[in-house]
Symmetry: D2
Subunit: 340 residues, 4 copies
Amino acid sequence: MTDTNEIQRFELDADADPAGLTYTFGGAAPVASLTPGTVLSTWTMDCFAGRVRSTSDLVSQVCDPRFINPQTGPFFVEGAEPGDTLAVHFRSITPRTGRGASTTVPLFGALTATAYTALLHDPLPERTWIYEIDPVAGVVRFDALDSAYQVDLPLDPMHGTVGVAPALGEVRSSLAPGDWGGNMDTPEMRAGTTCYLGVNVPGAMFSLGDGHARQGEGETCGVAVECEMDSVVAVDLVKGAPPTAWPRLEDDGFIMTTGSARPLEDAFRIAHSQLVRWVCELTGLSAMDSYQLVSQAVLTPVANVVDTTYTVVAKLPKRVLHGATVMGGMHDRLRTASRT
Amino acid sequence: MTDTNEIQRFELDADADPAGLTYTFGGAAPVASLTPGTVLSTWTMDCFAGRVRSTSDLVSQVCDPRFINPQTGPFFVEGAEPGDTLAVHFRSITPRTGRGASTTVPLFGALTATAYTALLHDPLPERTWIYEIDPVAGVVRFDALDSAYQVDLPLDPMHGTVGVAPALGEVRSSLAPGDWGGNMDTPEMRAGTTCYLGVNVPGAMFSLGDGHARQGEGETCGVAVECEMDSVVAVDLVKGAPPTAWPRLEDDGFIMTTGSARPLEDAFRIAHSQLVRWVCELTGLSAMDSYQLVSQAVLTPVANVVDTTYTVVAKLPKRVLHGATVMGGMHDRLRTASRT
Amino acid sequence: MTDTNEIQRFELDADADPAGLTYTFGGAAPVASLTPGTVLSTWTMDCFAGRVRSTSDLVSQVCDPRFINPQTGPFFVEGAEPGDTLAVHFRSITPRTGRGASTTVPLFGALTATAYTALLHDPLPERTWIYEIDPVAGVVRFDALDSAYQVDLPLDPMHGTVGVAPALGEVRSSLAPGDWGGNMDTPEMRAGTTCYLGVNVPGAMFSLGDGHARQGEGETCGVAVECEMDSVVAVDLVKGAPPTAWPRLEDDGFIMTTGSARPLEDAFRIAHSQLVRWVCELTGLSAMDSYQLVSQAVLTPVANVVDTTYTVVAKLPKRVLHGATVMGGMHDRLRTASRT
Amino acid sequence: MTDTNEIQRFELDADADPAGLTYTFGGAAPVASLTPGTVLSTWTMDCFAGRVRSTSDLVSQVCDPRFINPQTGPFFVEGAEPGDTLAVHFRSITPRTGRGASTTVPLFGALTATAYTALLHDPLPERTWIYEIDPVAGVVRFDALDSAYQVDLPLDPMHGTVGVAPALGEVRSSLAPGDWGGNMDTPEMRAGTTCYLGVNVPGAMFSLGDGHARQGEGETCGVAVECEMDSVVAVDLVKGAPPTAWPRLEDDGFIMTTGSARPLEDAFRIAHSQLVRWVCELTGLSAMDSYQLVSQAVLTPVANVVDTTYTVVAKLPKRVLHGATVMGGMHDRLRTASRT
């Protein structure tokens, strides 16, 4: 928890050989080092690595399955040790261009047979939608493919993927979410939110990517309004706190826990049991009192039901915590710095 | 779709033999008949049938398992035929007393072994919490059992259970949710919401109960802030529309679908596939365009992960429907009548 | 546990109005009374109520969804009270004709989208297969529809459905399995097996149906080799034993428990936790010792992954029980009587 | 598919620094190279890395979580390329000592809360059982901890873990099963069985470990009768066949597919859809005919419901294939060689 607040720019090289980009959490050499307290300014490619540019670009034709969902990173965070908690505060997340893309992908999504929900159906039709992004009006425009229907949806930029290297020496695809973070695909990962991630390896090895101009809760078809992002994130360390077993989030109004698992009720159970225990720590409530309070006060938006495991978020209004200090006040500090 | 708007009072007899109350959807004789367009004014017992009155009343000691979650009804809706859709608009839902109760129940809830998630653990501790309800301040007060912690939560009255007789001659416990409605336990079932239920038998046989002064999304411990309710509901029929396969809701801002199933992803799949198809009907969008639009615009709060099957709600802002007429304008009509 | 061993014939009236047959567990008036110890000789219709007679008969065209899976029964078992256990020993199960039928059914089966795993795919093709049954050779003949492939499979007659009236006043479709038995669809329900069912209502209200000339474990496509059966079952009561929470089976080599739930791991958990507890009762082992012994000795065939809930069977060789007396020796007694 | 049939011995160094052993699939340097056709003779440590030696050794006290389930390997198979299929035929699997160990492990197993099925219960008691292994009598002896109960179970040695490096650059813990094989924990992986694994990286990088003197189907408590094994395996390559998406097995009587996923029904769906497609390839049956034949002829034992994902096996009697040549006759060739 230093206070450099120095801005460090990292420029992803989009012209590099795709094989040289990062598609995993763990297993990649760091692209740069960050001092805790640094503000990182960088950009991220879209999940298609820029290959989907028009409604005639189909993922199965233009994308190489080895090069999906490239991440910016990993960054070696100086001093980060297993047991620490990494704090990543999103100052701003801004689409880099005026266009986003969404698609269906064969055997991927919540309302289709998949590689795991393995059925005998043929894949659903493969289609691509292009969204105009209007940052001034604050909208993205849905343009139907099979009729003239158009509708504007609120622009709500976020990162689908943020994480650190996993434990036990594992290396996980950037398509997977888990206790290391990764592809959680929750719209809560927007500017103004702080994400807390348990550190598993020296340096934490933090990456981010998969920018979404917006997404619905559940990411039903498996793909959001995908776009390149300019993002500014403050990166810091929480030392000496209880380890963070699963990613947590905090914004001005809520503390949030996440769980990523299948079946979806296990994701729910993880998020809620984490929240019950966190509230015990923050308030001194007994486990059963915390269970009761959470039961009446929680919001539970589904994040995604499409990735290799599913993600659920549990949100508790900070108001019920009576001013308890969360993660040593990290969010408030980064939030305030962000505003100045 | 008549327009009587006549108010009909039905008085539940709380002093009756508990064995004479209604604990199922289907299988019970009607308590009264309603003409479509009638406004029903009635009250509902709490899910404990009034047996939990203090923190020393434990469910396993004071409640008879045969007499849990009594319903007010069933009501025979005149003219309702299989294939029709019953519309139930909640005008007001008001706690009848200044107190609500919540409890843990052995082997019931989301963060415990249950009869289905059958493990070798002993049950969690059984406890009872009593909430003061302050309708003027619009709050319910959580009072911790093991410490002095108190916190007010917003009063947000709703019905956990509303439904009709199931199809195929089934009779289902009022603890179960399903395509007939039943124990869906979603906080969306509040005043101002219209619930649409597919009719399976002549007269629909509509009941309601399980009032909650409020609940969190997921109803984590399995029990909300349970209380007796005074409720006023307008009951009407939608004839000639496509059958309503799963309960749907509508309020001023959203259309909503529900799915009740296990695992939880199947509840999600039901709600979302129902929503995709409904949007096709309302907008003329193709299935794939509707899938795409829903994917970016939907909200997906979990309703419950504790009942015999779990419930998920999918919510779509009406704004994206460009003014499409939903269920023949039923909600708007009942809503307007409700305000006058 | 009487010893009449008297044979009582019940003749199902196949020419009756289909609406007069029994399609539920619970909710139907008894067709006859049985004294415990009686041997019931009867026959059962196939699950299609006889409507599928050739490869051109498609279920969606020839069957009325209200009249699927008719049961023979219910039988009122004299003296049966809630808390007792009903024993149903299958003496013989014999196909009544030389033909069986299997089909796909739209949106039904393990490798297809269904009403619960609700996806956007069109249904798989609907097809019907007719099997020749050769009781002398002991085979059923698979005859491919799209090529000349033929292969004989062992005849292994069984009942997919056997059960009693459910608890809590519920009435359940004969398509559903659960703690009352019902549509468990396990090949273990063959001649020589005794099925134990917990009694929920006076008279137990026992029914059986859904004869299969054979089925694979999981009943993958949702439909076995369906045929009419002549069946002889000895029906008796176990009084004074611990209640039977979920159906259990016993044959000469194994004790078996069943669990019916979703997701499939919950069915597994029910069956295995029931088995662990049963072994404690039978051997005096502690819970943890029983857990360990079951873990190393159990067989776990999947029964069905297609019905409204799924069923798993856990089988333990009796040899590891060192001669413990199971259910008061009921199976051995009925088995011996059956042989004489 | 060469024919060296040469025996190559690899000696695991048990005295080495535990940190130098292999605990992952992928991510480790090869310990040796194998020419296709080689017979590998080696041994494997038990899953506890030898730390559990008596009933007083509790896993949480004696084991380092980083060093659980060490594998022997990886072996670089010369000429193996992505898209090939690796064949691993188990000639013999022999316990190295006269003792095996089983345990409960806190928050691990099928009948307990876990890190994913995250509940508020305390862990179940942690216990350790030691089994005597008698290779002459062919039994392992269960010795109860809390009473004098003893019972012999058939010795049935197998490997819980066998696999190759995963796709997409992933590195997976040896505790996880998946499409790369890994910790599938099926008793079918015994001597006489051939395991087929799709190759994802040059050299395949094959490892094996986790010997079980026996296990029940489902590995209910999460731990089998764990022991060191002397194993002899013939390793060969299938070139030019359709890629093997999920591990397959073959013995003298059956072809088998595996699926590893959560929920358990997805593991079932993978195994069965793989089997349906395999039968199409082997017999020329149409997809629907194959679906039908599999539905009536398959056996479906659960493998494990305890690991990070669950595994189901689908078994089809070869007899129904009318002599179709499986994987170019690989099993028959290796089996015959094994006998000479």
